[in-house]
Symmetry: C2
Subunit: 448 residues, 2 copies
């Protein structure tokens, strides 16, 4: 991160002293990712000044790297002509991601002002659903006809501008159907007279534009690919998804999983303005309020026991809290297991068995420790035993809930990660209060 | 995942009907990742049978893909001679990862039995610290001398076996110092008579063997690389880290973050045996037990108020629960922000401001809703107001705790992700009980 910090400081200094030329010079040599992070840390007016100093190529690359919030601020400050000039110089897939963030009106104007060819490419990409291979594929690739020789292909590659970033050549037939793939390096080792179809790999891993981006990432990871071709229903080649985009997808999906599990939107960043984060956070808080009231109403059932024996109120949150952590531990492993493809119904029985054993053993261990402490603290042996038993039982409920709730969500085609603390701990709160206060109420005459 | 399910079923059927030859044939054509997942779902004896049917190359690739647990079971069942034969055929970096899982004694025997050259390569990699670039780098790469021409380089590449998986050529001087990099495709477009030093990029991103693997992943993601060279202190080329290994690192680090936040070890998988998960889970549960007792002792301070007014016990968990979710939301965003490099001290003031605004607004919204519900439920206006105020205050504490605790951990060089629910909710539990019961106790004469 050091280069970034350095750049931020330098840019701030040069802005202050008004040395625009030197600033432009430094920005030209900086890495787009560093520029993006620098922009993020500047006030809006300075963002625009700096951005306008960038050469168009740099501006496009930086625009691709900035977070959504900074992007929104920048495009609001720029006019459509400036924006279209920058977008034209961006790869179509990156440009599409920027256009996607614009208001409908602004997007239309910008697309009108762009070169027709690039504008059409961008519009085609935008027709695919969000988070699909179609959205992140690049329409630039090197395709060669299966009847060409290695020498002809080499000649073609030399002339193709898009070869600049290519690692594979795609071999197509008369009707543009994908029929093979050749790593570029294979051209170097092959005899120039060889027909390309003799050295192509026919066993091609490909996806369709509708394939979910997470599935694309899983395939690239599984088969150790650097790019994966995207083909339509007739196996016509439409584009390629490259590994750098796949890395972005993996990062993004991990963020989504972590955040959703914590009751946050899935794409919130630390610097989002509060009004943006507010509605989504509020939803989960209100859901939690409802579940907390449910748990409170369980306590309400035993209000007279508590009136008689206030010490029950002291111990009851411990049972709930332990169940909450226990079920979070289980659900964390299960949710991540689902994301990585490890957790399937075929192993459900084994996982449930493992979690129940863990629930019982960790529950019993903590139950014994807690019963001892409670006895030393309050000196009531029966109450201590009830506490230990309720705690252990709640840990077993925690194991079952933490394993099953994410799987059930998956079956209903919801993101298992929303089985956040909020949802699963409702079960352990309710059962925890019910088991402890219930047992105590049943045995209350021996407790007084 | 469909191919995997299919393979598992087929393998089980063929094992049952004893058709070993057909099974061997099918395994030979299967993808190592699918074989690895199939192994995982078989009982130990069958794992060994299937594994022994694999050709050595396949066996090595599958061994690299299996989870730690299956790996341990397999290497326990195989003898050292078998194992060394398989390891010899694996890339040195993958072999090192397997050897690293063996017992010291077994590792020594296996390394003795391996070809000397491969054995030495593996031992060298194992000398680097865990989770460093040195551990995941491949010692196979294509290096050419800076004085060579493109034609000479092409000739060299044709002969180099390791070019098979190379995307870049590395240019070195007389003393093996890295002085440039050339994408393989550049060789195709260059005139054969050109000296390689004229087309090399001199601005090379590189890492040292000691670089943390997470930092390597961040660089590959930032600069959109397919491989990054590893050099020693004198810039001598030692190996390369390829993007497929980087993807593994990213997945692994995401799993670690998610799990640690949920109070789990960081590398637990759904099928780990309970005795393996037990100690680490128990540690967090015991820590939580201690913090829950701390919170309970706060309630204990107000036992007589609860005795007088049992309804306090009904409402108090709501204040704690809301604070718990609030602080989890904040900490989730901050912890992920730290991992992605977005959250630094330079933006702390802005983040704290955002979180406090969110804490105040979501707290007030939930506080009002809760106060209304409490009033409708119990009809006590002052109690309802106390509940609303305590809830709002606790949400502001939640904002501060969720922002600062992960950062403080980072300052003390601990993983911010261990600011798990367990740690941060202690603050909100304690403050939640204290503020609600404290206010109620102060005003108790008006509540009766």
């Amino acid at each position: 991160m050091e280069e970034t910090v350095l750049l931020v400081e330098t840019v701030k200094d040069l802005l202050e002293s008004g040395r625009r030329e030197r600033l432009a010079q430094i920005l030209e040599e900086a890495h787009p990712e560093d520029i993006a992070r620098t922009l993020r840390e500047l006030p809006v007016e300075q963002q625009t000044i700096v951005f306008r100093l960038l050469p168009p190529e740099q501006a496009g690359a930086a625009l691709h790297e900035v977070d959504d919030q900074t992007l929104l601020e920048l495009v609001r400050a720029l006019d459509e002509l400036e924006l279209s000039g920058i977008l034209e110089r961006m790869p179509a897939d990156n440009a599409a991601q920027v256009v996607d963030e614009l208001s409908e009106e602004q997007a239309e104007k910008v697309l009108d002002l762009m070169e027709e060819e690039k504008s059409e490419e961008v519009q085609e990409l935008l027709e695919y659903g969000e988070k699909t291979a179609g959205r992140i594929m690049s329409p630039e690739f090197v395709a060669v006809h299966e009847e060409m020789t290695v020498a002809q292909v080499l000649d073609h590659v030399r002339k193709a501008a898009s070869a600049e970033h290519a690692f594979y050549l795609y071999v197509v037939d008369d009707h543009d159907h994908l029929v093979g793939v050749v790593p570029l390096r294979r051209l170097i080792t092959a005899d120039p007279a060889t027909p390309i179809r003799l050295i192509r790999h026919e066993d091609i891993v490909s996806v369709t534009p509708e394939t979910d981006q997470e599935e694309v990432a899983r395939m690239v990871a599984k088969y150790n690919l650097v790019a994966v071709p995207v083909v339509d229903g007739d196996r016509r080649l439409l584009g390629t998804v490259t590994v750098d985009d796949v890395i972005d997808v993996i990062q993004q999906e991990a963020t989504e999983d972590i955040q959703r599990f914590g009751g946050v939107a899935g794409d919130e960043t630390v610097l989002d303005p509060p009004q943006r984060a507010f509605p989504k956070r509020l939803v989960w808080l209100l859901i939690n309020l409802a579940t907390a009231i449910l748990a409170a109403s369980v306590i309400g059932l035993f209000e007279s026991s508590i009136q008689t024996l206030a010490v029950l109120a002291v111990f009851m949150p411990i049972v709930a809290s332990m169940g909450g952590i226990g079920t979070t531990q289980t659900a964390t492993v299960v949710v991540r297991g689902i994301a990585l493809g490890d957790m399937t119904f075929s192993v459900l029985r084994r996982v449930l068995q493992k979690e129940l054993i863990l629930g019982l053993t960790t529950g019993a261990a903590n139950g014994v420790v807690m019963a001892l402490i409670a006895y030393l603290w309050k000196g009531q042996i029966l109450l201590s035993l009830i506490l230990g038993v309720a705690l252990t039982l709640n840990m077993m409920v925690a194991a079952v809930v933490g394993t099953l709730v994410p799987l059930v969500l998956k079956v209903f085609r919801m993101d298992p990660a929303i089985a956040s603390s909020v949802i699963i701990t409702t079960f352990t709160d309710v059962f925890g209060f019910f088991s402890f206060l219930g047992l105590a109420t049943l045995l209350i005459k021996f407790l007084l």
